[in-house]
């Protein structure tokens, strides 16, 4: 760490540049070159070690390395001019690069960038990926540079910058996925696509049965899981005196929550299917999804109920209300918004589960489950005991059949699925933020 340059603010920009050229700039350039060469060398040697085909692509890597140096030098130049400013320029630069790569990727999907030095086209994917690596390297590198070279408060800025980038990248990916899916999918989405079944004879596609199937699955799962989960949470927070009961249920809920979804599927396959009808049924799917929703419900409800202040409980008990009355009339009403939020987020998560229902509940191109009819008995339980279609499974079965012919259907399905999940999340999060603001305690 170099000592703080106290009177830096009193020197002029020219002075600063001059001083820098003598001392810092050279040091930095050396360090920069060294870092870049080191990284390239490291990358080349690693890739060659693990991947025999590598050498034929050395050209591309070299290009990447050159770009890296160029970007790095630009940043150094900027940095010298803005010696003790917050590294805003880095944010902007990396944002620009990310945006640029996104634009290249999104808007030139069919035309490669012609780069004469290379034989053949550089595909947009290639451009994006190289840019991605360049941005990553450049940010890491300037961050490190900034961290090592400067006094404590600049280290802080470097870290801030680095952490900022590591939030921005996944969220950028998230946005990209959503936007890309919408762009690909929106051309397919019509009212018919959503509201009717596929007609294979006439070559029409529709995902209505899958939408209805998914809704039946998640409604059933919620009906099973919410009473159990909320009940367990109430018991744990209000009745269980001893710590070990809480610990035990906490541990089991944790384990259940992290159990892989395919294991739930296997369990349903060996336990539920033979006990219900022997083949895939909606009911089995609902129960297994409920089992996956249960730990989430327990966790969020426990949190929600614990957040209710004790003053309310004491106030109610001091008026002569019994414990159960207090829970029902004071504790639960105060925690319902948070519980609903938790359940909605959980539902958003299980709505897209494929692995568990794949074995036990679904089949593609079945009819929509129909519980109601216009003639007596008006309501049937029959669909519970037959297979359904579901959005995530529809997407998977298109993939399995080979996406070639039905790529549009796939994007449409993916978009509807994402929209569904976004809807649950949006609803849950807005309920939560509304009540955070207005709950009055």
């Amino acid at each position: 760490m170099s000592p703080v340059d106290e009177n830096i603010s009193e020197t002029s920009v020219v002075d600063k540049l001059f001083v820098s050229v003598e001392g810092k700039l050279m040091r930095r350039l050396m360090l920069a070159l060294w870092l870049v060469m080191g990284m390239v060398f490291l990358a080349i040697s690693t890739l060659t070690a693990i991947w025999p085909n590598f050498l034929s692509n050395v050209v591309i890597s070299t290009l990447g390395a050159f770009l890296l140096v160029a970007v790095g030098l630009t940043i150094v130049a900027f940095k010298l001019l803005k010696e003790y400013q917050p590294p805003m320029i880095h944010f902007l630069l990396s944002l620009f690069l990310i945006a640029f790569s996104g634009v290249v990727f999104l808007f030139f999907p069919n035309h490669g960038l012609e780069i004469p030095a290379l034989e053949g086209d550089v595909t947009p994917q290639l451009a994006t990926i190289s840019l991605f690596f360049i941005v990553t390297f450049a940010t890491v590198w300037t961050g490190l540079l900034f961290y090592w070279e400067n006094p404590a408060h600049n280290r802080q800025l470097a870290v801030q910058y680095f952490t900022w980038v590591s939030v921005a990248i996944p969220l950028g990916v998230l946005t990209f996925f959503i936007v890309y899916t919408i762009m690909e999918g929106s051309s397919v989405i019509t009212w018919d696509f959503i509201s009717s079944a596929s007609d294979l004879m006439r070559g029409e596609i529709g995902i209505f049965p899958a939408i209805m199937g998914t809704f039946s699955l998640i409604i059933g799962a919620t009906v099973f899981a919410v009473p159990l989960g909320v009940g367990a949470a109430i018991f744990l927070t209000e009745y269980a005196k001893r710590g070990w009961i809480k610990q035990a249920v906490g541990v089991t809920a944790d384990c259940l929550w992290s159990t892989p979804s395919i294991v739930f599927g296997l369990f349903g396959y060996v336990f539920l299917v033979p006990r219900i009808t022997g083949h895939s049924t909606l009911l089995a799917g609902q129960i297994i999804l409920a089992a996956m929703l249960l730990p989430l419900t327990i966790a969020t409800s426990t949190e929600a109920i614990t957040a209710v202040p004790d003053e309310f409980r004491n106030g109610s008990l001091a008026l002569g209300a019994s414990k159960w009355w207090t829970i029902r009339r004071v504790v639960l009403p105060s925690s319902v918004p948070s519980i609903v939020t938790g359940v909605l987020l959980g539902v958003g998560r299980i709505a897209g589960e494929t692995a568990p229902i794949m074995l036990i509940a679904v089949a593609s191109h079945t009819n929509a489950p129909n519980f109601f009819s216009l003639s007596p008995p008006y309501f049937h339980l029959g669909p519970l005991f037959s297979e359904v279609d579901a959005l995530p499974y529809r997407l998977y079965s298109i993939y399995k059949a080979g996406v070639g012919g039905s790529i549009h259907e796939a994007w449409g399905t993916a978009m509807v699925l994402i929209a569904l999940v976004l809807m649950f999340y949006g609803l849950g999060i807005s309920i939560r933020s509304y009540y955070r603001r207005n709950r009055g305690w």
């Binding site: 003053e311 004491n314 106030g315 001091a318 002569g320 009339r329 009055g440």
Partner: protein, 297 residues
């Protein structure tokens, strides 16, 4: 039920010494009370009587066990992990710590007002109707299941405690708590939006709606501004016409202003108890004198 005859003789002495009306009876009799939190002994062998329809105040430095003593009278100490009570407390000659006591019934008769106003996040009306509505489940225990369903189809809701229409119960309670005029229009709005002083009076009204005999107040004015505090003090004087009030306060002027009798607690022990004027003007114990003149504590 365990009748406590021992307390009576004591009461005669009090009547004679403090020249109190011969018909006055004790609402709460506390004998040899010890309260432990785990190993810590927060109340040490306290015996005292709280007289009917009088305002009694508990004073003492903070941490001396005032709240603890108060909470053991309506058994709110049961809710504290590790709290243990020894000795006897009798309300209406019944030992409230005996096994067959219904705690919630006791708490309906012995209401409590907390330091921080704690209205439920419901409407003003629902806040006040809460106690009477919660009483319905006592009916089930006392008069059988079906009594608790009686009248659920009646259009007009009635309080199960005394059978009066709920609207009237709510208005009467608010009236008694001197709050009706201020919030008559806001009966169905959220109680959370009231001001602090109004909230505290609402809590008193909520407590009155359950027809208590004794009202415990734990520093009810300490989180309020002086004007609201003054209104609550006036209210307490009013209430003592009908109710037995036990009030914990850290404010000696307040105790002197509003209470008939005062007890001084010190490190969990009862130092002195007597008529308020007597206690403040010519205390018997040196300790009391030191405390009220501010030389300790």
């Amino acid at each position: 039920m365990v009748p406590l005859t021992k307390g009576k003789t004591n009461l005669r002495e009090i009547r004679e010494k403090e020249k109190i009306d011969i018909s006055t009876e004790a609402a709460v009799e506390i004998r040899n009370l010890d309260v432990y939190y785990g190993k810590e002994r927060a109340i040490k062998n306290v015996s005292l009587d709280i007289l009917k329809k009088k305002v009694t105040s508990l004073i003492g430095p903070s941490g001396c066990g005032k709240s603890t003593l108060l909470r053991s009278i309506n058994r709110m100490n049961d809710l504290v992990d590790g709290a243990r009570v020894e000795g006897t407390i009798a309300v209406d000659d019944r030992d409230i710590y005996s096994k067959d006591v219904q705690v919630s019934k006791l708490r309906q008769k012995v209401g409590q007002v907390f330091q921080k106003p704690n209205p439920f996040p419901k409407s003003v009306y629902d806040n006040i109707a809460f106690g009477p509505r919660a009483y319905r489940h006592h009916l089930r225990k006392e008069k059988g299941v079906f009594s608790s369903f009686k009248g659920i189809f009646r259009r007009e809701e009635r309080s199960p405690i005394d059978g009066r229409p709920m609207d009237q119960v709510v208005r009467d309670s608010l009236e008694q708590a001197a709050l009706l005029d201020e919030i008559e229009e806001k009966l169905h709005e959220s109680a959370i939006d009231l001001s602090g002083g109004q909230q505290q009076r609402l809590c008193i009204a909520r407590c009155l709606a359950t027809k208590p005999e004794i009202i415990l107040m734990d520093e009810p004015t300490s989180s309020l501004d002086p004007i609201s505090a003054g209104r609550i003090e006036d209210l307490i004087e009013e209430l003592s016409q009908e109710y037995t009030v036990l009030i914990v306060t850290h404010n000696m002027q307040q105790a002197a202003r509003i209470s008939d009798r005062t007890a001084l607690l010190w490190l969990g022990e009862l130092i002195e108890m007597g008529k308020t004027e007597a206690l403040f003007e010519k205390p018997e114990k040196e300790m009391t004198e030191k405390y009220i003149t501010g030389r300790v504590g």
